[in-house]
Amino acid sequence: MALFGKRSKTHAAADTEPADLAAPVLSFSGLDVKFGTEFGTVHAVKGIDIEVRPGEVLALVGESGSGKSVTSMTALGLLPGNARISGDITVAGKKVRELSPTALRRMRGNDVAMVFQEPMTALNPVLTVGTQLTEALELHGVAYGRDAEKRAAELLTMVGIPDAERRLKQYPHEYSGGQRQRVVIAMAISCSPKVIIADEPTTALDVTVQAEILDLLRSLKTELNTGILLITHNMGVVADMADRVAVMYKGDLVETGPASEVLTRPTHEYTKRLLAAVPHLGARDSAPPESIRESAAPAVRVDNLVIEYQRVGKAPFRAVDDVSISVNKGEIVGLVGESGSGKSTIARCALGLIPAKSGTIEILGTDLLSLRGKELKGVRRRMGVVFQDPASSLNPRLPIGDCIAEPLDVHKVGDARSRQARVMELLDAVELPRSVFNRYPHELSGGQRQRVSIARALTLDPELLVADEPTSALDVSVQASVLEMFTTLQREYQFACLFVSHDLAVIDMLADRVVVLQNGEIVEQGERTQVLQHPTKEYTRRLLAAAPVPDPAEQRARREARYELMKELGEKSHELNIA
């Protein structure tokens, strides 16, 4: 711990100084990046200036394609060969573009380190965690052999992984998602870099784990005085972490300033729109739904459902255990839970895509699990489905028009002319221009593709729609417009809907009733207002406490409340654990 102890002591003085007096550890000035492609040049970053000071978190915010990841990659000199870069990039006083490959390699890790989005792919699955941690230490000459192993164990302890010596010998797959991200952070801080670039570090994680990782990252800047460039699209994370915010839009920097300023009083039109689009937990009026539809017959009735996955050489894995849910006609039921809670498994089973071990699923009055062939097809005619990933849920070889007409074709409804008319009608309904009829999925943006998915789901006027995380792969502003459209369509077509999401705020916006799942079991279910505002179960309370909101002051209060809750539940702090 010697090294870190010293570092934090020497910087103790610096901590008391106002941050803006210290020299920036990472700065971009006039950064401009172009990519040469088959279809001409793409101007990804258009001359921006950003500075990150020691002990400061700068959040770089923007939608996909705004150039935020490209910006961060230039700091590491990691752009592909077709990029043309101009402008100055300075990391800890060194001009990145003037460095030789050797010097660049030395800089990566020593001066600047990276925390990636997906911890599973950032770690090598065939090497032990110990090997990967010591490799970084030995490459940069921090420690060798036994010393390196000792340092690695210290690092794991620091990032909050208990029993470090034993766990060093384990492989990445033996760690949970959050622990893997902790290992990635341990690797990043192993050579005590002056600045850490965190590219969407919590996007792949569950909300409670996200809160833990953010606690850890936050303690890095105070304990080690590291500058952090945080790239994210989640405004809640920004409010929770950032000192300053830089908003990027189409390669331009449209607004910079302190987090409290930008998030509460945005000046640029785009920032305002971005913030308005963030779904806000508790924003919807708390009045009970205008029409209580209890008298209506259920569209879906799931009783004592058990789903098991067979595993070779092991006992079957029980993904869903004794779950009973019902969705009334014209009602949206939100299925919420963290990854591994079985929410998507239930949705897929309700679609008849995977078999159930026991229990019954009654769809529109018929038992789905006993149906075969023609009868099953008949029930499926009355159902629609929207999946999570718009890039994968449309057949890349079919034009949009054919894609939306596919259900009509499969169920032999109408002739060519009436089908086309129906497709046009649906394109209007999902607010897409009619000209996309002849386009291919790859020509559309993610949000447009998801609209096509929704149109396809509505083609046969379904009585039931199963939506499996339909907006989680989209940008916030796109998500907002898709959700708004979804609500309008639901009001118009009055379909029952099983809506799966991990995002409590999205569920809060849409659902009439909420079912909270954990490890394949129902924790709590009931009316939306009751579950989300007056949760009775501990797990629901933790979920709600961990979801960040895009207002720094409110988020600070929520954080304090979460710490209280953690104390109450006897959970230890997730901050950097310096012995």
């Binding site: 990519f35 040469g36 492609t37 088959e38 279809f39 001409g40 793409v42 990804a44 970053v45 939608e63 996909s64 394609g65 705004s66 150039g67 990841s69 490209v70 592909p80 060969g81 077709n82 390669g251 897929r348 679609l351 008849g352 895509l353 008949g378 499926r380 005619r381 159902m383 489905v385 999946f387 999570q388 990933d389 890039a391 994968s392 849920s393 057949n395 890349p396 070889r397 079919l398 034009p399 596919e406 259900p407 499969v410 169920h411 607010e431 221009p433 009619r434 000209s435 996309v436 386009r439 291919y440 790859h442 020509e443 559309l444 943006s445 949000g447 998915s453 396809r456 502003s477 417009s481």
Partner: protein, 338 residues
């Protein structure tokens, strides 16, 4: 015709990064803005994109031209079946060897026997052309036949899994572990005498294995994609899912593999003929020509060189075309390394 005001649609610079699978199969930054009202842009289908990239591949284009030229030359010169060609001699009639059968082909002259004559005075140009015809027929029949068998076996095994997959893939493994040449030699010796079409079908029946495994792998990954789940969820028949949704997406793998199996078939037929199991005299193939005159190499080297060059040219052309197609179908080929 206007886009959503709050749904921005920027060119996706990030999708240019290698390893970004989310935008595969075609991250097309130019097309992303295709729906902006004020910027009308040409819409490319997947097929058009592939064609565009293929036509830009110089090696493949040259190879395509050469292959078409060789094919036309082979089929028009001595004719096919009852249709006569423009070359006056045929590949069977003997005559006296002029000047020891030396080739008369000069820099600017063709002469009486451009490729020379063999030991019994047969015109070697006609023989080479006939050999090329046979080799091309065998190559394409084998290429197409093995592609059909491989695709059907691979896609059924990959889509249905379970017992069907076990049976089909063990059958494939069985064929793979027997040396190809031995298998082909034994079967074609049995089917011998029933002509080149039978031989081609035999070769197709033993060379589909690698494609079956490739297609199975592709289908295994595609069947887990959400558009397949979506198709199943609306009640689509498995055959329709397979032919409309899955197979069109494996077309890249299939076409590329076909071109390689075509060039492999030419070489396989040459080896078989060389060993005496392939095409039987009096008919000729390029491989048979070489084996027939292997002893004449020292005294009459042209009898070896001409058919040899044609085998080489055809195999190279097909390989180059395959290369061009592979590049064209690979979505990462989207960027220009400048």
């Amino acid at each position: 015709m206007t886009d959503q005001p709050n749904e921005v649609n920027p060119p996706r610079a990030e999708s240019l990064m290698p390893g970004d699978e989310r935008n595969a199969p075609s991250p097309m930054p130019g097309g992303m803005v295709g729906l902006m009202p004020d910027k009308p842009q040409k819409s490319y289908s997947q097929g058009q994109l592939v064609r565009r990239r293929f036509f830009r591949h110089k090696g493949a284009m040259v190879a395509l031209v050469v292959l078409v030229f060789i094919t036309l030359l082979a089929f028009t010169s001595i004719g096919i079946g009852p249709i006569p060609g423009w070359w006056g001699k045929n590949y069977t009639s003997t005559g006296s060897a002029i000047d020891g059968g030396r080739p008369t082909l000069g820099w600017f002259t063709i002469g009486e026997h451009p490729f020379g004559q063999d030991t019994v005075g047969r015109d070697f140009f006609a023989r080479t052309m006939r050999g090329t015809q046979i080799s091309l027929i065998i190559a394409f029949v084998v290429g197409i036949g093995s592609t059909i068998i491989g695709t059907v076996v691979g896609s059924i095994a990959g889509y249905f899994r379970g017992i069907i997959e076990a049976i089909l893939m063990r059958l494939t493994d069985l064929l793979i572990i027997i040396p190809l040449l031995v298998l082909a030699a034994v079967i074609s010796a049995r089917a011998g005498g029933s002509g080149i079409w039978a031989l081609a079908l035999v070769l197709a029946a033993v060379t589909w294995t690698s494609l079956a495994r490739l297609v199975r792998g592709e289908v295994l990954s595609l069947r887990e994609r959400e558009f397949v789940s979506a198709a199943r969820a609306i009640g689509t028949h498995p055959a329709r899912i397979l032919f409309r949704h899955i197979l069109p997406n494996t077309i890249g793998v299939i076409i590329v593999s076909t071109t390689f199996s075509i060039s492999a078939a030419i070489l396989l037929e040459s080896s078989l003929s060389f060993l005496g199991f392939g095409v039987r005299p009096p008919d000729v193939s390029l491989g048979l020509l070489i084996s027939e005159y292997q002893n004449a190499f020292t005294v009459r080297p042209w009898l070896f060189w001409f058919p040899g060059m044609f085998i080489l040219a055809i195999a190279l052309c097909v390989s180059f075309i395959g290369d061009g197609l592979r590049d064209a179908f690979d979505p990462r080929q989207n960027r220009k390394g400048d």
